[in-house]
Symmetry: C2
Subunit: 571 residues, 2 copies
Amino acid sequence: MLRMSTLLLRTLRDDPADAEVASHKLLIRAGYVRRIAAGIYSWLPLGYRTYRKIENIIRQEMDAAGFQEVHFPALLPKDPYEATNRWAEYGPDLFRLQDRKKNDFLLGPTHEEMFTLMVKGEFSSYKDLPLSIYQIQTKYRDEPRPRSGIIRGREFVMKDSYSFDIDDAGLEVSYNQHRQAYIKTFDRLGLKYNIVSAMSGAMGGSKSEEFLAPCPTGEDTYVLCNGCGYAANVEAMVTKVSTYKGEKVGAIEELDTPNTPTIDSLVELFNSKYSANISAADTLKNVLLMADEKPISVLVPGDREVDLKRLGANLVGVKDLRLFEDADFAKYPKLVKGYVGPQDAKAFGLKLYADPRVIEGSHWVTGANKRDKHAKNVTCGRDFVVEQYVEAAEVKAGDACPKCAKPVVIDRAIEIGHIFQLGRKYAQSLDLTVLDKAGKPVVVTMGSYGIGVSRAVAAIAEQSYDELGLCWPSEIAPADVHIVATGKEDQPFDVAEQIAKDLEAKGLEVLLDDRRDASAGVKFKDAELIGIPKIIIVGKSLVDGKVEIRDRKSSAKHEVAVADVVKNILN
Amino acid sequence: MLRMSTLLLRTLRDDPADAEVASHKLLIRAGYVRRIAAGIYSWLPLGYRTYRKIENIIRQEMDAAGFQEVHFPALLPKDPYEATNRWAEYGPDLFRLQDRKKNDFLLGPTHEEMFTLMVKGEFSSYKDLPLSIYQIQTKYRDEPRPRSGIIRGREFVMKDSYSFDIDDAGLEVSYNQHRQAYIKTFDRLGLKYNIVSAMSGAMGGSKSEEFLAPCPTGEDTYVLCNGCGYAANVEAMVTKVSTYKGEKVGAIEELDTPNTPTIDSLVELFNSKYSANISAADTLKNVLLMADEKPISVLVPGDREVDLKRLGANLVGVKDLRLFEDADFAKYPKLVKGYVGPQDAKAFGLKLYADPRVIEGSHWVTGANKRDKHAKNVTCGRDFVVEQYVEAAEVKAGDACPKCAKPVVIDRAIEIGHIFQLGRKYAQSLDLTVLDKAGKPVVVTMGSYGIGVSRAVAAIAEQSYDELGLCWPSEIAPADVHIVATGKEDQPFDVAEQIAKDLEAKGLEVLLDDRRDASAGVKFKDAELIGIPKIIIVGKSLVDGKVEIRDRKSSAKHEVAVADVVKNILN
C-alpha cells in the first residue's frame, strides 16, 4: 500500500517555468519526474510505477508475439559503428567518450549494429531464421534542443526489436507480426494513435510506418484523410497529380519586372502592368540548393514553399542539403538571384528537380535568367526538362488525398512507435550471412521496430488530462484506487485503512491519503492532480455509513455504503 | 514456451580463452552472456531471463520492506559530484564525457549525491523521515582490470538504496531493516553467504557490513572464526592483543650486521654471530611510507608484511599512501635504508605508527639508524613511543579471533551486498537539512545499501555448478523444466509437446528441446550445461509409456508414466 504520509512526493501548485506542454507540466507538478539536466530526468515513486506498468505491458506483448528478449550495454565500442559509418554520420548527436586506455566508446543511440553482430555470432543457417529479438534499454542522443520533458530527452528508454529473415517475403511476415504486436500494445496502453506511412529512403530501407499519437503540441506533423483513412507523415505524403489538360501557349515572352523580390509583388506587377490575371499558383519558383555541394534547382509552384525536411527525406542518397548562399551565387555568376528560370538549367550546370505538380505541358511565369526580367509561357517539356520529380513542396491542409482525392487534414502527434523494413544495409556492412538450402551464403534481411517506453508515459499523459490534472487509463495508473480520509477524528482514517486493506486483498493497488496535517481541500486537489482512476472519499458521509466514489475522468460521483465499497469498485 | 529449435542460443563445447573463473566460462559456454568489450557484456535470452528473475526477487523484497522505488539517469551532470569532491576523488575510475555544449557529465558509478539531492528537493521536515528509497539501475566504473566476466565489469546493474533519518538511533533502525531485507533476499536467491564486518573509515561513515558469497576464486578475502562465527573482511579484522608479560631487558645494544638485506638474513646472522636464539617475530620492521606526502613509519613484527590495502583502509583521513622511494630517502638523508629503527623517529620527523602487536614493554631487534648496524633490546614505551596504533600487518590463517581467541580461517568470496552507515557526509556537503520539532534545521543522517544485481547471476553460478555445467536454484533458473525429446519418430516430440503444454498450464516455465537435427547426446549435454533444475527425457522409455525425470543437481533419475509427469514435477 502506498501512503501519502510516507510517499516521496510533493505536489506543486504552479507549472515549472521551463515546461511548455501539458504532460511536462503535469508530470512535474504531480511529482512523477524531476529534471536533473537538460533532457535528463529522474523518476519519483509514482512516476516509476507508471513507467514500469508500461514497460511490463510492452514486454508481455513482445513475448506473446514470440519475440525473444535480450539486453545490450549502453556503453558500446566504436568499431561496429565505424563499419556502418554511423560513427561519423551521427555527428554531434552521439555522446562519445574514451576509457582510461583512450579507446573510443559511444553511448548507444540505437542498436542495429549490435543486434546484427549478435545474430552473426550465434547463427549461420537459413534454418535458424526467422528470428525476432528485442530489448528494453536505455538510449542516449545528444539532442540539439531537448524539450517537452521526457518526450524528447537525451537519456530515454526504448523497446527496440530487430527481425532477421532470409528473404523479402520473410521480412514482410516479420514486419506484419510486429505491426500486429504494436497494435495490441498501444491498444492496451489506452493510446489513441494513427498508423502513418513514413519515409524510409534516408535509412536505406524499403517500407516504414509510424505509430503517431495525436496531440495538439506534438512535434510530428502528419496528413490524414478523413475520407479513406489514408495517413502519412508529411515527408511521406504523395502529391496527387493528373495529366495536363489546359491550353497550349505560345512561345516564351520576356517582360520587365523590376522590384519584384517576392511572388506577391511579381503577381501584382504582372496583373497591373501587363493586364494579366495570374495568381501565385501560376508562377514557378526556382529554389536553388547545394546537394552534397553540387548545385540543384527545385521547381515548385509559387504558392508553395519548399519543405526542406520533406525534400531531404525524398532526395535519396543526398547527405548534405542547404539553400544557396551569396557565396554560391558568386561561384555561379550566370544565376541571377531573384530571376532564375529553368530554361537554361543545363547550360548553368544545374540539376533540375521539380515538385510533381510541375507536369508535362504546364506553363508558368518564372525568371528569365536576366536581371529585372521574368518570362511567361515557360512550358514544361518544351522549354525545360525536369530531370527528376521529387516531393519537395510543403503539404497543406486541403491538399488532395493521393488515394481518394478528398481534401486531407493536417494534424500534430507524438511518435510512439516506428516499424521499418531495414533491408540488407546492416547485414551487408557487418557481413551477416547465413547458408541457404543449397549451402550458398545469403545476406540476411532485417527489420527494425521501436517503441519509446519512457516517452509513452508522456504521450499517454498528453491524451488523458484535464484542467485539474492527470487522468490515467487504469492499466497504467500508479494505483487502481486513491482513498482520501478526511476530518479530525480517527474514524474516517480507520475506515479508510480497512477499505484499503480489503481492496488490496482483492488484488487492487491502493494509494491511501492518510495525512493528518493536510486539509480535505489539499487532499482532493492532490488526488485530482495525481490522476488515479477511482477516488474514494471517506469523510462526511460516514455519518450515514457511506463513502463517496468518484471517477476521475468523468467526474461522476456516487455514494456507497461502506460494506459495498469493494464490490462497487470491482464492478 | 522456449524452444531450442528457435531460441537464440548456441552452446559452446570449449571454454573461452579469456575466462578464468567457472561462472565466466559456463555463462559463455551455456549461451547466457557474450562479451562486447573488456568488462562489457550483452545478455542472450537465457541469461536475461535469469537476470530478470534475480532483479524481480530483489525488487519484491525491497518493496516488502517498505522501501520506495525511484530511478535516476546514468548520465549525470558534474556539479553534485564536485560538491562532494568525488569528481576529483574518483580519478580514472570515472567515465567522463562532454555534451555538444561542452558541459561536463559522468556516467554514475554510484548515486549518493543524486539521492541526497532528490530528498532535499522534496522533503523539509522531521515528519517526512525516516525514508528509504532505492533504484535498480545500470552503473559504470572504468575498472583498471575488468575481469571474471560479469563479476567485475565496467557496465553493471546495482540495486542501491539510501536511508534518511533525523538521528543516529533512526539510522540504526533503517540499517537493521536493510540488513533483514538483504538476508531475506539472498536466502531467496539460494546464495550461501557470510555477513562480514567491513571498514567504513575511508568513506567517512561509522558501521558497515558486507554480504560475501564464499567462492574459491572470489576477489574478496575475509576472516572467519569457525568457533564463534566472527567474520570480518581483511581490512576490518581486529588484532587480538594482550598486555606485555615478558621479562624486562637491559639497555639498547648496537651490533654489526652487514649484508642483512632481509629479515631472514638478519635472523640467521644474529643467531650465528651473536649466539642468539631469535626468530623473525622478534625483529621489528620499520616500513617507511609517504602518507599524503608526509613521511611515516609503520612498525610491524618481522614475520609479517604490511598489508597496504588494510593499512590504507585504517589510516582514516589519509588519501594518498605509497611506499618510500629512493627519491624520498634522498630527501631524508638521516634515514639509513635497511637499518631504520624507531628510536630516533621524532628526530627524523617521522610519524610513528605501529601494529597493535607492538605492545608497551615489548622489546625488539631492529635497525640502529646506522649503516650495517642493528640494535637489540629496543623496548616499546622506553626507547620509542608509538604515536598511533593501526591495523597494518597482513592477516594470516590461524591468527587469533578477536572475539574468542580461537584461530581464524581465511576464505575467499564474492561481495554480493554491502550495507553502510554513511552518516552525515553527503547531507552536509549538499546541505540536506530538515526542521526538527523545535523548528531548528538538522543535518540528515544517511545509510547506503547495495546489491550487485548482474553480479549475483555470476555469484549464484559460482556456487551452483558441477563438471557438466550450471545447476541453477529453482527460483532463478531460466525455466523450471527442460524437456528433451529424442529419436527420429514424431511420437516423442508429440508427447514432449503435450507435457510442455500441461506443465505450462500449471504455471511452470518450460524449455523444450524440439530439435530434430540434433542427436540425443548433444541434447543431454546442452541440458546439463544450461542447468535447469528438472530435466524430462522423452524417448526410449516411451515404449513402456514412461519418461525419465532427472534432477540436474543430484543427478537422481527415475521413470514416471506419461500421465503422472505433471503431478510428479509439481511435488
